[in-house]
Symmetry: C2
Subunit: 232 residues, 2 copies
């Protein structure tokens, strides 16, 4: 704080904190309704959080390829702009809704609520087993907004480096699964899985840890078993 | 919007929009002061924006190695948690200040203001030529907050994929330089530089485009020339 300039930190304005807390509590109430809606569709909801480009959409494409014959999968795609991710998922033949936030850095329960209704419309009388919600690529803000999911997966890819859990703790504290992706790239990077996992478990000892490569399929069996177990 | 549930979108509450706009205008006023402070230090300020793990800190390490003999460099590091990035920069022998946002997803002008004062304290009567401000790893929120920098650099790394300009437009619209990093990894990825550059230039035709590898040094000469040109 600079006494000369007299500049206050606008981030700590009390009015803003109050409004923010009221927004979060409105979000949580709506998220609880989303959870009921997801269950009415017969599904378990999974919220997927990572930085841009960690491989969320590719993970979903490969997951659908593996599981489409045994489980009914639906996807809600969150992006700031473009239909590109939904187009990729649609090509796999499953119902998908693209939500664009128009600038906002995360999905919130209200947007996802619209997404669930739009998906319901596509399904008609059909049901789902798994509903994936791919969040906006952002390792920070999505961690604050509960969407009504049953499980939350936080992913970092090998090229991002192993220091991410320590530097972006909130997403790890609030998740059920910590996935390390793009493990086929381990030979090209100085990436210590031990360090990443140790830091993540220190933040949240209940995390289920998985390492996968969507390219080679390494580690995929563990991920698929986890998804199957949600339906048993 | 679901008529049955009657749930409104909390993101569009007018009170929130008003508070947000007032925050942004307070931020911009303070950022203008930051710019003056940076100039009093003799420096040009450069705000570096990217996702987590795109290689911001490594770029700075290599830049310091190349330029430390000709230009006086200072660094302000922004992170949510940890001193890890500042420790890496400190090891290169230049003055550095670590700012931790304590949860916030971006630096703002107020925090950077504190950082400039802390850096000034380290410098004593010394001056700087370049002041790098490494933002929190986030391709979304930092784009909204002017910090008082003279130049803004947005970076995406090859492993993130070429669709990032289209999907995260704001950071590209507001930047001066678009840098593609980790180009040594091009042989291992289906990354179209043409697509990334075309999308970025469509958003902002004034972007200066650079491709670099901090590992091999490819493309570094262009980046260094750009930095030297800022001081001429």
């Amino acid at each position: 704080m600079c006494e000369d300039c007299g500049c206050a930190s606008p981030g700590h304005d009390h009015k803003v904190v109050d409004v923010h807390e009221s927004l979060l509590s409105a979000n949580d109430a709506l998220a609880a309704k989303n959870k009921e809606h997801i269950e009415e569709l017969g599904a378990i909801g999974i919220n997927l959080i990572s930085s841009p480009g960690s491989g969320k959409t590719t993970l979903l494409e490969k997951t659908i390829e593996h599981l489409a014959d045994e489980l009914r999968i639906g996807v809600i795609e969150g992006d700031i702009e473009t239909e590109r991710d939904a187009d990729r998922i649609r090509a796999k033949g499953v119902p998908v809704v693209q939500l664009t936030t128009g600038g906002a850095c995360h999905l919130d329960a209200s947007l996802v609520h619209k997404g669930i209704h739009a998906l319901e419309h596509q399904l008609g009388d059909g049901k789902l087993d798994l509903l994936f919600i791919e969040n906006v690529g952002n390792l920070v803000c999505p961690a604050t907004f509960y969407l009504g999911e049953h499980k939350r997966v936080v992913m970092i890819s090998v090229p991002e480096g192993p220091d991410k859990p320590a530097k972006y703790p909130k997403a790890f504290i609030g998740s059920d699964v910590f996935m390390i992706s793009k493990t086929d790239l381990l030979p090209y990077f100085d990436f210590s899985q031990e360090m990443a996992i140790k830091d993540a478990l220190q933040l949240n000892p209940h995390l289920m840890v998985m390492s996968v490569s969507s390219t080679t399929g390494d580690g995929f069996e563990g991920w698929l078993s986890f998804l199957r177990s949600l339906r048993q």
